[in-house]
């Protein structure tokens, strides 16, 4: 890597910061300027993410370790770019671009500071994926949470404020748990750098091990709240159902932040090399993930409108991921990563689509809350008018695509993700290698198949109610700029299906790297800050 390209690693953090600071110079009357800055920054982030992914793909271990201020690793702050973080960066950028373009049609006018908060959220997300120490993980995590509080309330209205109150309270309490966990780990090991922690944990004396595991457990709770593991997930469906559509779409990646941190920290700190603490808490992850999956599938059946259905689909997705990660097998993790990408794209598209489908049936009160008073007339009037048959066809096709993706039926990528996951579960010793299948794997298989079935039932039930309705309740007109992001996200999953081979190779290599953290530890600690 050239010296100039090396600094690209910090660009996903710096660019949104500069962009959102720049936006503060313009007040609400210059909304177009703000929107332009936001679009430019988000698309630039997408380009940067692609560049970083290519760099990460080429390198054998972590592609780049960026020392802020040039301080050597365990003392200074590090950003680490490897395959996993590059993948998450790209996923964030794709989802962000889609929901931003969608919001430009009208949602960004529904409240103040949407664009600035959006950029701060991106900064928090990117920072969380890149950071190499627990201290900055806390800072970036709080940053993304603070921006998400503002975005969850975007558009105001009593339903949003009510759900937002719970969301904020739950997450503030979880942040306190985060601090307790971090400080317990620091008390035992004397470091907060993740690589340094991984190197020191095998040597922790037996009498301190309980304190360390307690700290890791408390820290884990904080992330599992974010990932929505049962029974820590009751805040999630109401918040996601109440949030405005573009915000809900970008929130689809926020539960994956929790999953990402669990994957990264758990395998780094408590992987096979952690001595007496190896795979600490694996049973909890597996059983908790399966409980989440069970709760999610009951919820999808019980959901009476599409927004709640989407909220529970988020739970199904994160339950699947947590349980799969808990198995601690390389092949299972690889399949889980494929499922993560596919389900995040599908959920993002679904959240956007729901708003388009339900717009025609929205009663006046909902619309009124969404728009700022002085602009309400302008927005509401333009949108009235029935949809053309072509629009209905596109909407219905997209809905079908989402249903296939979320329930994991062929031919789209949801099926490939689930198939890879199940194949790996049933062949613990490699393809055709035999070996006993653990009972937990059978349980997960049954739950996964069941969740596909219930998602399908719920989606067809609510889809029939949405599309096959008498004409007086027909769908409203939608604009090109609103349907395009949905179609684009679905096309990406189609591309993921067609290019499943290369994608799967990349993800398997990612899983192998995550399961063998020695090279990660070595490359971080060998940086001397020169």
């Amino acid at each position: 890597m050239t010296p100039w390209a090396h600094h690209l690693v910090i660009a996903p953090v710096v660019l949104p910061l500069v962009a959102s600071a720049l936006m503060l110079l313009f007040d609400e009357r210059h909304r177009t300027v703000r929107a332009t800055i936001n679009v430019v920054s988000t698309f630039a982030l997408g380009a940067i993410a692609v560049a970083l992914l290519r760099v990460a793909e080429a390198a054998p271990g972590p592609a780049a370790v960026y020392l802020l201020g040039g301080w050597p690793a365990p003392f200074g702050i590090v950003l680490v770019l490897d395959r996993l973080s590059a993948l998450m960066l790209l996923l964030t950028s794709v989802l962000a671009s889609a929901s931003l373009v969608f919001s430009l049609a009208r949602w960004h006018r529904a409240g103040v500071h949407f664009h600035a908060l959006f950029q701060f959220l991106l900064m928090g997300l990117d920072g969380t994926f890149l950071t190499g120490d627990l201290f900055n993980l806390f800072v970036f995590f709080e940053l993304l949470l603070a921006a998400s509080y503002g975005l969850a309330l975007h558009g105001s209205g009593s339903a949003r404020v009510r759900a937002g109150l719970h969301y904020v309270a739950v997450n503030l309490a979880a942040s306190l748990l985060f601090l307790i966990g971090v400080s317990l780990i620091y008390a035992v090991t004397g470091t907060l750098n993740m690589a340094d922690l991984a190197a020191r944990i095998p040597a922790v004396p037996a009498q301190n091990r309980m304190l360390l595991e307690a700290g890791a457990g408390v820290l884990g709770i904080a992330f599992l709240v974010k990932a929505g593991m049962w029974p820590l997930c009751f805040w999630l469906p109401p918040t996601y159902a109440a949030a405005s559509a573009p915000v809900a779409a970008i929130f689809a990646i926020m539960t994956k932040v929790g999953v990402y941190i669990v994957l990264r920290l758990w395998l780094l700190l408590f992987g096979a090399g952690a001595g007496a603490s190896a795979y600490f808490g694996a049973d909890w992850l597996v059983s908790g993930g399966m409980m989440t999956l069970g709760f999610g599938l009951i919820g999808t059946l019980a959901a009476r409108d599409l927004r709640w259905l989407a909220g529970f689909a988020v739970l199904v997705s994160s339950g699947t991921l947590l349980a799969a990660i808990g198995f601690g097998e390389i092949a299972v993790t690889g399949g889980a990563l494929f499922y993560l990408v596919s389900s995040t794209l599908a959920l993002g598209a679904f959240f956007l689509l729901i708003e388009l489908v339900e717009r025609g049936r929205m009663d006046g009160s909902v619309l009124a809350q969404e728009a700022v008073p002085e602009e309400r007339d302008g927005i509401a009037e333009v949108e009235v008018g029935a949809a053309t048959p072509r629009t209905v066809a596109i909407l219905a096709l997209s809905f079908m695509g989402c249903a296939l993706l979320l329930s994991g039926l062929p031919p789209l990528s949801g099926f490939i993700g689930k198939f890879a996951l199940l194949t790996a579960l049933l062949n613990p010793a490699g393809m055709g290698g035999g070996g006993a299948v653990p009972p937990a794997a059978w349980a997960l298989l049954v739950l996964l198949v069941l969740s596909g079935l219930t998602t399908m039932i719920a989606m067809s039930r609510l889809g029939i109610r949405a599309f096959w309705v008498p004409s007086e309740q027909a769908l409203a007109q939608v604009r090109m700029i609103e349907i395009a992001p949905v179609v684009l996200l679905l096309f990406l999953t189609l591309a993921l299906t067609v290019e499943a081979g290369p994608a799967m190779r990349y993800l398997q290599a990612t899983a192998e790297a995550v399961h063998a953290p020695q090279s990660y530890v070595r490359s971080v600690l060998s940086m001397d800050g020169a």
Binding site: Y149, G150, S156, V168, S175, I180, L184, Y186
Partner: protein
């Protein structure tokens, strides 16, 4: 010193948790504040308690600076989020007409 600090953390955390579980939104916010004080003191305690030790300027027997930095960050962030929560609380009070955390009074 240890006893006083431990008692202080315990009392703060206990009252914080109790208030957090109360139905009024103002009690929740006070509970969260008390809890964050308890957590800040706890972080100070895990960096080992030393009275009168200098900061890192000298080579031996120094006070650990990392927990202090962590506390400072936590205080700043906690301050901001508490302010934001207050705004949400006021908005909820205005929109729903009650200060119950669920936005509606439970029937007696």
């Amino acid at each position: 010193m240890e006893l006083i600090l431990a008692l202080g953390i315990g009392v703060l955390a206990g009252s914080g948790v109790w208030l957090l579980l109360r139905p009024r939104s103002f009690q929740v916010i006070v509970g969260l504040s008390l809890l964050s004080y308890a957590v800040n003191l706890f972080i100070l305690a895990v960096g080992r308690l030393r009275v009168g030790a200098p900061p890192v300027l000298q080579a031996h027997a120094v006070a650990d600076p990392v927990p202090q930095a962590l506390i400072l960050t936590a205080i700043v962030i906690g301050f901001a989020t508490t302010a934001l929560f207050l705004v949400v609380l006021l908005a909820a009070r205005g929109l729903t007409g009650t200060d119950h955390v669920d936005g509606e009074e439970r029937e007696p």
